[in-house]
Amino acid sequence: MMFYAAAAVAVISTVLVITRSNAVHALLYLVVSFLAAAVMFFALGAPLAAALEVIIYAGAVVVLFVFVVMMSNLQAERSRQSPWTSLRAWAGPAALSLVLLGEFLVVIASRGTRGLGPGAVPPKAVGISLFSTYVLGVELAAMLLLAAVVGAFHLGSRRETPHHRFFEETPK
């Protein structure tokens, strides 16, 4: 039951993400979609994945998106919005996340009898598997993240010469 409610919230908010015209409104629904995915992971018995989904997807990735939105349309941003339009902007995501909050309270109030099923995989088992069987994959992921940091730093630096010949001025 918990899973199906979270799945419904995830599907509804994902539909709203891909149909919004405003990028910030879409990001609000994207956060709700990731939180619903985290509840789904918890209902499936994967608490470590649920926590990491909240921290990394709903936290870090969405913050990156928000930074880029703020950097990219400062000129187009108009400050003449009324409180009513901003209320309409956040009422939808708030209603969807209230469903998730209700599930959260139900799990807490049931004192462990509900939520993690018998087939749950504890974080300890994941850690043991990660650093014994998949330790080569962990090192490869570390190298990938290092390459991503270097690449993002290179692409994000503001300099006069273009970063790639694709960005050079076309001779008219």
């Binding site: 899973f3 994207l30 209902a43 880029v68 099923g117 994941v126």
Partner: protein, 102 residues
Amino acid sequence: MSAVSFEAVLAVAGILFALGLAGLLARRNLLFVLMSLEIMVNAAGLAFIAAGARWGQPDGQVVFLFILAVAAAEVSVGLALVLQVRRHFKSLDSDAAGTMKS
């Protein structure tokens, strides 16, 4: 895996993936394209978690951690590229960067 059937989880993952694919194909704004990519990666992760829970093994969550690392790397480089495109073409439309240099 308590009461949720494996097929239902896979169906939800497929629906989320299809929604991300539809957004990727339909939207022209590069920010929305990246958001759709995140949705699709997340749906793939959900399928892995479901498989790990189905057989009670930690491997599904381990692969989800790798997917998480790949998604973080992809979104950081992708957003830096979006900023470059925005700085050069003064637009976030994917058609603005549609032509190769002659």
